[in-house]
């Protein structure tokens, strides 16, 4: 599949599954999941330094050999998101930022107005901005217009595992996007990821579905296979849906066993 690489802002990736590192019970399970997923890119967050913490997640990710995509999780305003992005640039020495500006702590849904403001400011400050957004096609277009390097629409709320609640909106976003579309949030299992890729997403970000599964490594592998399956299927040209059946076995040439006056 190396011929079919994901490209974002000039960087290329063989894997189309981005792994979120939140929710793992420990670093060992995270490492196993990274390997099982074949992930090349993982999100990380920033929180107040805990002096008692032993070992940095960065050591784990380095050992596994994945690159880091910092996020601004937990920010409710453009201002806090921008400051957090600047801290991330300092902490991780990368201009890439997964921009999250949420409007609400029960749904964790993005706040459209603050999100656009933050995206604009960060693009101007030279960041490569990958915004977590709703499935609103107009908002996605606005984010692309202000210079985001990709758009990351949700399928359903973070951690909800409800999959893609509105495939119609997602497909409209994909049809009209000039930048990569990465499904972010809502994936609950492998088929959700496959479906997203079949709709034409360029990649899938998955965190809770893997980190909180009973067997994270197995689910990481499953979601990774789902992403590959969906990507391949997207390119293979699926059959059209039809209300009635179409025989897969030819109908002509059926033998006729019955005959008038033949005793059986």
């Amino acid at each position: 599949m190396s011929a079919d690489q994901l490209q974002i802002a000039g960087r290329t990736f063989d894997s189309r599954l981005i792994l979120g590192t939140g929710g793992f019970a420990n670093h060992e399970l995270l490492a196993q999941a990274c390997r099982a997923a074949g992930a090349e890119l993982c999100t990380v967050a920033l929180r107040r330094l805990d002096p008692t913490a032993r070992g940095s997640i960065l050591d784990v990710l380095e050992e596994v050999g994945v690159q880091v995509l910092p996020n601004t999780a937990g920010c409710f305003t453009a201002r806090d998101a921008v400051t957090t992005a600047q801290l991330a640039r300092e902490a991780f020495q990368t201009d890439w930022i997964k921009l999250e500006v949420i409007g609400d702590d029960r749904t964790l849904l993005p706040d459209a107005v603050e999100l656009v403001a933050a995206a604009e400011e960060l693009v101007d400050a030279g960041f490569v901005v990958l915004p977590y957004t709703t499935d609103d096609p107009v908002l996605a277009r606005r984010l692309e217009d202000v210079g985001c390097a990709a758009v990351m629409p949700l399928g359903s709320p973070i951690g909800s595992g409800m999959g893609i609640c509105n495939p119609y909106n997602l497909s409209i976003i994909i049809e009209r996007a000039g930048v990569p579309v990465i499904l972010d949030a809502g994936v609950g299992t492998a088929s959700d990821a496959a479906l997203a890729m079949e709709h034409g997403c360029d990649a899938v970000l998955c965190a809770s579905a893997i980190s909180r599964a009973h067997d994270p490594a197995a689910m990481a592998r499953a979601v990774s296979l789902g992403v590959q399956a969906g990507r391949l299927a997207h390119g293979a040209g699926r059959i059209a849906r039809r209300r009635y059946a179409q025989a897969s076995t030819p109908e002509e040439g059926m033998p006729a066993f019955d005959v008038q006056g033949v005793a059986r």
Binding site: G20, T21, G22, G23, F24, L30, T43, V44, A45, L46, R47, R48, L49, D50, P51, A53, S56, I57, L58, D59, V68, P70, N71, A73, T83, Q86, L87, A88, R89, E90, A91, F92, K98, E100, A207, S211
Partner: protein
């Protein structure tokens, strides 16, 4: 002087710098994935030693964790 570090009030001697705070928190000098904001502005690692705090300064020292 009185400052706030990661939400907790601290008493520092006059002339204390961002570096002093880092030291106070036992952060290894080369610690990875650490960054600092002073009164809402990021202070790059290279300027920790020279950047002085003032009365009421708000210091946030953050580090990488699993997320999103």
């Amino acid at each position: 002087m009185k400052v706030t570090v990661n939400g907790r009030p601290r008493e520092l001697s006059a002339g204390a710098t961002v570096a002093s705070v880092v030291e106070m928190l036992d952060v290894a000098p080369g610690a990875r994935g650490v960054a600092i904001a002073l009164d809402g502005e990021v202070v790059s690692r290279g300027r920790w030693a020279e950047t002085e705090l003032r009365e009421g300064s708000l210091v946030e020292i953050v580090a990488a964790i699993g997320g999103g």
